[in-house]
């Protein structure tokens, strides 16, 4: 890969050991993937924040780094609400380690806003055609597909390297030729809300690391596209998709010849999976907190809820107390911008947590079964928390005792 004179001098260590390592990571990954050069990035979004996922190993590495990021950089969700962790049931030892991780990033100039939806808090981070170094899988999918920006699936260290250098290697989804759809999905029914997450569970498993293109009968909201992409990044490794007539690059793409038809029954089957219905289909073993046929936690906001989703939750919780414990996860910025919505939600007994989510927080592990409106959480909670999960529409998730 071609390096400029300045990039070479960084690689030779003339700008210190941290930048030398960062340049080594970027140039080696570039060589492996056949990049021609490094390109400037507009922003970085860095995964590897929850102490639950990176542990002492990650904390040590981040703490040893020295330097300052040179592009706007933001963090993935942490393992707890940085203020209300006790309410979540997180213990003090975990909290102390989690704070150390966030402080270590802050020392490097990273904005300590912990969210998987950076596009809701600052439009400057990503616009159509911008090159980015993002590492949270659903944020990557949203940036590539819905915004039309360009990012690969960066790992935590490579995203941080890009933040320190201000560049990333030019390969993969940065290039037009890799943004062409490889597999078509024709959806044979109208979809709404959590249907899109369920569709993502199905399509991601089929698409793998390919680029799906969808033909749908209904016009999805951006929040529904967010749910679709997040689920496909969890059930497969999808980083970019197109929706005919909807997403910004779809007009330049042709619908693939290889097409899979998805019918209503298949979507419905996803809602019937998991706990709460049957306990026999592979969900019986390996879970720590008993069989738990009935969900005992409702967890919404994976990815983090937007203002419009908070509004819908507030409306659904208007005149009753939800039957179960309810956590709604969003970013600190969206919460602070919508105090009335948050008050209306919390008046019902539901809780709005920020900086974190049910997937990366150890607080989820004590429950028996999680009910969620997210295809991504539905896929990840069993593996990452050892807790069963079921997906349902938001109105079912927030129903009161008597409305079953």
């Amino acid at each position: 890969m071609y390096l400029t004179q300045e990039e070479e001098s960084i690689l030779e260590g003339e700008h210190g050991p941290t930048l030398k390592k960062a340049m080594e990571i970027l140039s080696t990954l570039g060589d492996i993937y056949g990049a021609d050069s490094l390109i400037p990035v507009k922003s970085a979004q860095i995964a590897g924040v929850s102490y639950k996922t990176i542990g002492d190993a990650g904390l040590e590495w981040i703490s040893d780094l020295e330097g300052t990021v040179v592009v706007p950089s933001i963090l993935n969700p942490a393992g707890m609400d940085l203020e209300r962790w006790q309410e979540m049931g997180v213990d003090a030892k975990f909290a102390s380690k989690q704070v150390q991780i966030v402080e270590a990033y802050k020392r490097l100039g990273v904005r300590c806003e912990c969210t998987c939806t950076p596009y809701y808090i600052d439009k400057e981070l990503a616009a159509f055609g911008d090159h980015l170094a993002w590492s949270e899988s659903s944020a990557i999918s949203y940036a590539n597909s819905v915004i039309g920006a360009r990012t690969n699936r960066e790992g935590g260290p490579s995203a941080l390297s890009a933040a320190l250098i201000g560049k990333t290697a030019n390969y993969g989804y940065h290039l037009d030729e890799n943004r062409v759809p490889t597999i078509g999905f024709e959806v044979d029914c109208k979809l709404t809300g959590a249907d899109y997450g369920a569709l993502g569970c199905l399509a991601g498993a089929q698409a793998g690391s390919g680029v799906p293109m969808f033909r749908v009968r209904s016009k999805p909201y951006d929040t529904e596209l967010k749910a679709l992409g997040a689920a496909m990044a969890a059930s497969g490794a999808v980083a970019l998709y197109h929706v005919e007539g909807v997403t910004p690059e779809s007009g330049q793409q042709e619908f693939p010849e290889e097409t899979i038809i998805i019918e209503r029954g298949q979507i419905d089957d996803v809602f019937d999976e998991g706990c709460g219905k049957e306990c026999g289909n592979g969900y019986g073993e390996g879970y720590k907190n008993g069989c738990g046929n009935e969900p005992d936690l409702v967890a919404l906001g994976c990815p983090h809820y937007s203002a419009s989703e908070l509004e819908e939750a507030a409306r659904l919780l208007e005149d009753h107390t939800p039957a179960k414990e309810v956590w709604i996860c969003t970013s600190r910025r969206v919460r602070d911008a919508n105090p009335d919505l948050v008050r209306r939600i919390e008046d019902s007994g539901a809780k709005v947590f920020v900086d974190t989510c049910m997937v990366v927080s150890p607080a989820t592990d004590r429950f028996g079964c999680v009910l969620t409106d997210s295809g991504k959480a539905f896929k990840y909670v069993p593996n990452l928390c050892g807790v069963r999960a079921r997906i349902a529409h938001i109105n079912e998730c927030l129903a009161g005792e008597d409305s079953d």
Partner: protein, 146 residues
């Protein structure tokens, strides 16, 4: 028997493997070879360097100071940080040789100053035997069986 003898002689003759440089630096150690991919997270104990993954070919083996030869990384990206922790604890492999490098191990080797090469000719897993004394040059890509 005759074929085996030939293969053995051929192996004796190969003292140098030419690979692609991945992570800079040089190191020497006893080879520990597996045909199975390695996930550093949930597979190798960072305190002891011992492989604890049930059913892995290397289960019970200590990677400390070894030239670890395996096809590729797999699993969680946190594996990169586990390699860093092994290094800090003095339990890291001396060098890594992969058949095909992927980002988890690449990033782990670079941040941990562990020399690494991949794509050697002839193939490292077919050529190097556990117990061989091996020198790895991660800057040039050369691997020497001593």
């Amino acid at each position: 028997m005759h074929i085996l003898t030939n293969a053995w002689q051929e192996r004796i003759a190969i003292r140098t493997l030419k690979g692609r440089p991945i992570s800079r630096g040089q190191a020497e150690g006893e080879a520990l070879v597996t045909t199975q991919s390695i996930s550093f997270l949930g597979s190798i104990d960072p305190d002891t360097g011992v492989v604890f993954e049930k059913g892995h070919e290397l289960e019970g083996e200590d990677v400390t100071g070894k030239v670890l030869v395996f096809p590729s990384g797999k699993g969680s990206t946190v594996g990169s940080y586990v390699m860093y922790q092994l290094k800090k604890n003095g339990t890291a492999p001396a060098a890594v040789i992969n058949r095909s490098a992927e980002p988890i191990v690449v990033v782990g080797a670079i941040i941990s100053d562990i020399p690494m090469v991949d794509s050697t000719k002839p193939d490292a897993i077919d050529t190097i035997r556990t117990g061989d004394r091996v020198r790895v040059n991660g800057t040039s890509g050369a691997v020497y069986i001593l």
